[in-house]
Point group: C2
Chain length 204, copies 2
Amino acid sequence: MPEAADGRAQTTSRREQLLAIAAEQFATKGYKFTTVRDIAEAAGILSGSLYHHFDSKESMVDEVLRTFQAELFGRYEAILASDADARTKLEQAVEVSFETIDRHPHEVAIFQNEAAHLGAFERFAYLAERNRESRAVWITLLEDGVRAGALRAELDVELTYRFIRDTVWVAVAWYRPGGRRSHTEVARQYLTILLDGIAAREES
Amino acid sequence: MPEAADGRAQTTSRREQLLAIAAEQFATKGYKFTTVRDIAEAAGILSGSLYHHFDSKESMVDEVLRTFQAELFGRYEAILASDADARTKLEQAVEVSFETIDRHPHEVAIFQNEAAHLGAFERFAYLAERNRESRAVWITLLEDGVRAGALRAELDVELTYRFIRDTVWVAVAWYRPGGRRSHTEVARQYLTILLDGIAAREES
DNA sequence: CAACCAACCAAGCAATTGCTTGGTAGGGTA
DNA sequence: TACCCTACCAAGCAATTGCTTGGTTGGTTG
């Protein structure tokens, strides 16, 4: 492993650079639409040279998705393990999600667009596993919220989970890092809608 | 055009059958992952025979998406043109969307998964146009709702539109026609969350 | 019956694709 | 100097892919 003079691991190895380039291509054009020649050209090398770093195109998406998921779920676990109240935890989970879109838009897009097809292959079975994990996280958060009285008691937790998950992740399709709205702003607005709804409150 | 004995147009021409088969394949495996041989095999014919009905694989998605969009936007326009109040129109638009997922799950899935990539090609420029139309519909509904006092005045209409659009359509990824929840039920639950939020109301 | 036609088959071509192989340039190290 | 190792090139192979072409079949119609 290459290291800088001061002993810290070098921030971006060639391998990581290539992975980032591949991720961008996969995200914008789709996995199957992206050829290894595309990736190589974007990196300024020949297609064959990619196989010095990776043993297949499949390995590239695999590694991209794996590292991304590992980081994301680490953050979810941290929230679950904290001692904040139920509503705060829910809000944090939403914020973390939007922050992830901000920091890893390509990775999220790939996951969003390709997970369904790729999940069919044995190699990507962990995607389904992560899906179950994700569901467990959100369901826990929601049930805790109901139990604590922070969320409506009649809530269809399963449906609510799906709506949250969908809305949060699909935002990657339109959210642009560095754009007019910050991820914090978007998360805050979304939480307002989710928690209080869009209807005007009746005077009671 | 083939016609039944009683003079009505035959409900499903061979062409329509093949389109339906192709749509299913595109939806489940993705456009690029689906080969013409896959489609042909699913139809019980050889791949070359498909070219008696269509002149390219591209034409197949094109036709699938075009007819789907035409029907959908026809229904949106009908709602806009009606004389119901703002809130009712918004609810109807949501209901129509979930009903569309129920009736044309494959078409919605294709649109959801492939529109982004395909939109880059000139042939599919109408997808972007339809996107603008869709935005116009929802923004109108939301602004009318705010104006009528049915929706909160401080609403970020643009963000709200995106959240609605995303959540509604992405449901195609998990909604199963004929499953435990009817599309009417899902629409009703979703509207509750959207309009009133998931937070418990404070006693005031 | 003769003509026609929609629907299909059989075979294969040309381009693209992921990937392999053998070799080379150049910087670091003993 | 001799060696090694990372990163790359040049060339091309084998499989897959979308699509073409010429021909066959079976039903319908004048």
